[in-house]
């Protein structure tokens, strides 16, 4: 393991950091205490975009859900995405009733299906020009 290499989240605040917060890494959303709406990612504006209340709290979202929809992308998108192609993306429905868009990992792309049980992992997305690992949340099939 190269100690100088750093892990950098693709975006700050998408998931909890176990080294700082303890426990498992979990996606962080916002919960509106006025109307009950949920958001992922967290509403950085501090405003509920459904009822415009400012009474929001951070919540940790379930790490397990079911595939709501998916696709396998066969050609490279412009500029930003640097990992392998083809790749699978889709929406995972969490028990809280929110559908999170995600990359899929650790699976045979041909075996993805609607309703499949999946769980969240933090994994490398790509390396940046300085050799840092850019990491992101992804979902993979539940094996047990």
């Amino acid at each position: 393991m190269n100690d100088t290499k750093r892990w950098i989240p693709v975006r700050e605040g998408l998931w909890s950091d176990p080294s700082a917060d303890g426990g498992e890494a979990q996606l962080i959303g916002s919960h509106c205490l006025t109307c009950g709406e949920l958001f992922f990612p967290r509403q950085d504006s501090g405003l509920c975009s459904y009822c415009q209340s400012k009474d929001l709290e951070d919540i940790r979202l379930s790490s397990k859900g079911k595939i709501y929809s998916y696709t396998v992308v066969m050609q490279r998108p412009p500029v930003y995405y640097k990992a392998e192609v083809p790749y699978a993306i889709g929406f995972v429905e969490l028990p809280e009733g929110i559908r999170v868009e995600t990359l899929f990992t650790g699976c045979d792309l041909e075996k993805l299906h609607v309703g499949m049980d999946v769980e969240m992992v933090i994994e490398k997305l790509h390396e940046d020009d300085e050799g840092n690992e850019i990491v992101a949340y992804k979902f993979r099939p539940v094996t047990s």
Partner: protein
Amino acid sequence: MKNGRAVVVAGVGLTRFDSYDGQKGRPKKEYYDLGSEAILKALDEAGMTWKEIQAAFCGSVYCGTASGHQTISNIGMTGIPIVNVENACSSGSSAFRLAYQMVAAEIYDVVLAAGFESMPRGFIRSTAWPEWQRFMGFNVQPAAYAMAAVRYMEETGATVEDFARVSVKNRRHGALNPNARFQKPVTLDEVFSSRMIAQPLRLLHACPLADGGAAVILCSKDKLKSKSKMVTVAASVLTSGTYGHVYGGGSVKIKTPDTITISAEQAWEMSGYGPEDMDVVQAYDTMAPGELWDLEKMGLCKKGEAPRLLREGFFDLGGKLPVNTDGGLLSRGHPLGATSLAQIIEIYRQIRGEAGPRQVPGAKIGLAHAMGAGPNSAVVILKR
């Protein structure tokens, strides 16, 4: 929304949608060449001179600052207000709506709506996704359609073959349209052997890019040069981003009615018509499956019913409700700023009985629907 005074179509103009890149013997034309060509055709059809136009709204997406001014300066600057409209793929119909409102509100009597585009090549780069989502590879328009298509299959039992049938139908219609980019029909086998883009969607499920220009002149009845076959705007609505349907913006729990459904309901209310009154429809087929749920969400058929009706020929020329009679985006090609005006122009041609070999006999009322990133949903109903 108030309806205001009656607004009628004075004339329309359309260039062929094609690649005007100057390569391989193709002519080199810029967006302003195509836009001004369409405007001059519309003036000619209206029997009007340029100096009669009192205001102009110009739709485009990739043409840069003041593209309407560039286009109109080709014809002649007259001091009229020119407003550039960028509303993604519904830019043209958004410009149309502004022109319509100006005449309806009696602010002006004769107003131009134009749309044009010289398309960038390859994937359409969209800034509709935040940067982190672009790093995660979410910024692929066909993938968004593919995920919606997978859901649609799950909920309705539709098959990939149904999606291919949309391509086959629209390319068959497009073969009758001299302004379409693709005028050659395709077979189911050709669709299935085309390159996979985002499973389950293939290249021939997707509309081609194109460059092009389109223009519509709207006016009050008293300004019409000829009242024969007069076409009235029965509705022009725009619904932008109903709550919970904003793609690229993250996820929420509360669901509200779909943007397309809301805009169609507004159009029925504004026009006093219902789905059963439509003789011809231009639906939004940037990707083939979109046409199916578009028709369902507008209430032109029941949910899950569109694939069966398609198989039975209901949406064919000669069917009960012909859809995308000019070949749709799948044949015509997709110059973003011009697309939704071309849809409106096809309805105009159809209800005037001027659609030649693709004429729907006796068509009197028609609807054009365009979607745009944002999202936007724009519906226009024209009647004879």
